[in-house]
Symmetry: C2
Subunit: 392 residues, 2 copies
């Protein structure tokens, strides 16, 4: 079956164990698939929309309840759906950061955070990680001091990733937020790899903003995400419109300016909502998923010359491997060069590693079963052995 003449059907997750770093947490649940069919039309969620005509107040389908559940799930006071985490970043920078104001990011900040700063013409400053690839509270404090010295004012905002996209390391957000707050710097926690994957409480972390990605980690269609705030910021971020038509004298009720009115409709909103009961439950099984990740990483580490670049033992399923002294040695002599690895993996029904990579590469085992984890472990070792690497 093809989707249409020009669009081939996609069967990656049907035919393979998929280790793609960004795809693992976003695979739709069966309920989400039913939802995208039943609520595929965007305005399908508007059948029963009444005053104040806002997505987060619709009772049927139960979007109002979903918004309340999301806020509670995140340990925050208010939550709104957004078209991707990046649009959540922008809502915050646009509300908090004026032209030329300093904003603190980190060595591991995602490019969308930088673009959200660039849109408002903020001035980016990065906090560098330590040798373990961890952003430390001390480094944050130091950089804030530097910004104050240089800019004569503290940063208007600090972005920090709870789990970074490079190493999948877990950073001490609670301690970082405490330090930032000593300088009155509001803290935005990017939960793109944590919200929907592991238990996350914004209150426990003490952050002002907690943002999750629907299509990265909440088994939701794209573009989707959630922007949650503490009560202190709710009014500012979700401020309602005050513009009026100069002739008609029209005003626009309780529409929220940064949200541009309603944000997600149909497949994205209902898909996210349909997956939510599963997501809420699965975060409690994160420990098992981490154990599976470690099983695979341990098998890789048993291959001579192989190192894990991420913190170890793994505390997250997204992992950065260093196989410069193992698979890349093979690649140098193999007739398929660097492509030998993805090719051998695909023969075993495994995909998701960047084709050609044999030096530094990432994988995400999130969502595998115990049996699949064992299979992955054996497969990597077998590929190593078949290519003359010793496995100990």
């Amino acid at each position: 079956m093809n989707c249409s003449d020009a669009i081939e059907n996609r069967e990656v997750d049907e035919l393979f164990i998929n280790l793609d770093p960004i795809q693992a947490g976003g695979r739709l649940t069966a309920d989400a698939m039913k939802a995208v069919l039943s609520y595929g039309d965007g305005y399908s969620v508007c059948d029963n929309c009444g005053k104040p005509f806002r997505l987060d107040t619709i009772q049927k389908p139960p979007l109002a309840q979903f918004h309340a559940d999301l806020a509670s799930f995140l340990g925050m006071d208010a939550a709104r759906l957004v078209p991707g985490a990046r649009r959540g970043f922008l809502a915050v920078t646009h509300s908090l950061v004026s032209k030329n104001e300093p904003v603190l990011l980190t060595e591991y900040s995602h490019y969308t955070e930088f673009l959200a700063v660039e849109q408002v013409l903020g001035k980016p400053f990065e906090v560098m990680a330590d040798s373990r690839h961890i952003i430390t509270p001390d480094a944050v404090a130091e950089r804030i001091e530097e910004v104050i010295r240089q800019e004569k004012r503290p940063p208007s905002l600090l972005f920090v990733e709870q789990v970074d996209y490079q190493y999948g390391n877990i950073h001490p957000v609670r301690e970082i937020a405490a330090v930032a707050h000593q300088y009155d710097v509001p803290v935005l926690c990017n939960g793109a790899y944590s919200v929907g994957i592991m238990p996350v409480s914004g209150k426990d972390l003490g952050v002002d903003f907690l943002i999750g990605s629907g299509h990265k980690s909440m088994a939701a269609p794209a573009p989707s995400g959630v922007l949650a705030t503490s009560s202190e910021w709710t009014e500012k971020i979700f401020r309602t419109t005050s513009i009026t038509g100069d002739q008609t004298k029209r005003s626009f009720g309780l529409k929220e300016v940064e949200m541009l009115g309603c944000t997600l409709m149909g497949a994205t909103a209902v898909g996210m909502m349909a997956s939510f009961p599963h997501v809420r439950e699965r975060v409690n099984r994160f420990g098992t998923q981490v154990a599976y990740a470690n099983k695979v990483v341990d098998a890789l580490l048993s291959i001579e010359g192989t190192e894990v670049a991420s913190e170890y033992p793994r505390r997250h399923t997204l992992t950065r491997m260093n196989t410069n002294n193992s698979f890349d040695r093979v690649a140098k002599k193999h007739k398929k060069s660097g492509y030998f690895l993805i090719s051998a993996l695909r023969e075993q029904g495994i995909t998701g590693i960047i084709p050609g990579s044999t030096r530094i590469w990432k994988m995400n085992t999130y969502g595998v079963s115990d049996r699949q984890a064992s299979y992955l472990a054996r497969s990597f070792q077998e590929i190593a052995r078949n290519n003359g690497l010793s496995v100990g």
Copy 2:
């Protein structure tokens, strides 16, 4: 079947002829439904993403070709997918309008246009329609002159709807754009009810920006839309990032600032693309759809006291009716009061009119068949007769 425990399946379009004004053009095609299942996962479109790592350059699925086809379909020089028309409005206001600068809108401007102006702190001025509910070039010229007198500068931007959401009237965008350009005012044409419904050429209209809504009129999942520009503006609106990390010295390649990188992924992007061949074809059958709309409106007009508030004969399928002197007279005496109409319609398998409305109400017959149009015509007349109104 339910989508999940808490979410009832939606069957509005399966069980009824649906006249909902905003839903008619957004119903997914069968190909779009296949696409949202096959490409339900957001990052599914990223399987084969390579340099420069941008949605509009992906070859498989054929998103690069789709972007080029979209620009050509719209008669514009460049097109990008956006998470809803409103995010397209914002990309333009954010690029063109600074704080306190005047922006021209119209009496029929959608609230999302106002919010896009409010986000950048622009100053809104409205052009009022004439007695036929048409925005005229003369009125636009007059208002520009007024703005220049009052603000000592012309508006930074003019928003104009090709088809307005209130009356479904077609406004003389080409003539309006010509007038605005005499004052060097760039023109954004809101094609939310035209792009994907009727043939639209931005070049013919002479507009600088043409924006369409995927979920309103292109049979695509929400949030989706298209922002197209003439070559003069491409560089400004789709400017690429220039921000860098101060420590890592990272920069972010060819990511576009206003797009925040990639915009639509998975179900929304591929759903829109899967519907596109159908959409490109259906705009050529718009004349037939307008004929069906007129058939239904004529039947309504045959009911004593009934008036059409929109221009007549209809040139679009979205129509505003005035039944103050017909259905509302019935409502005043009916035991179901204003709900008698929707109730009677639903008994006939028709829905989409706002429940309780019997004075001024809107319907959109877009997508009906000839037989359904005749059925609608007969049904309205029958309901009128059954309630003591004469039909002539």
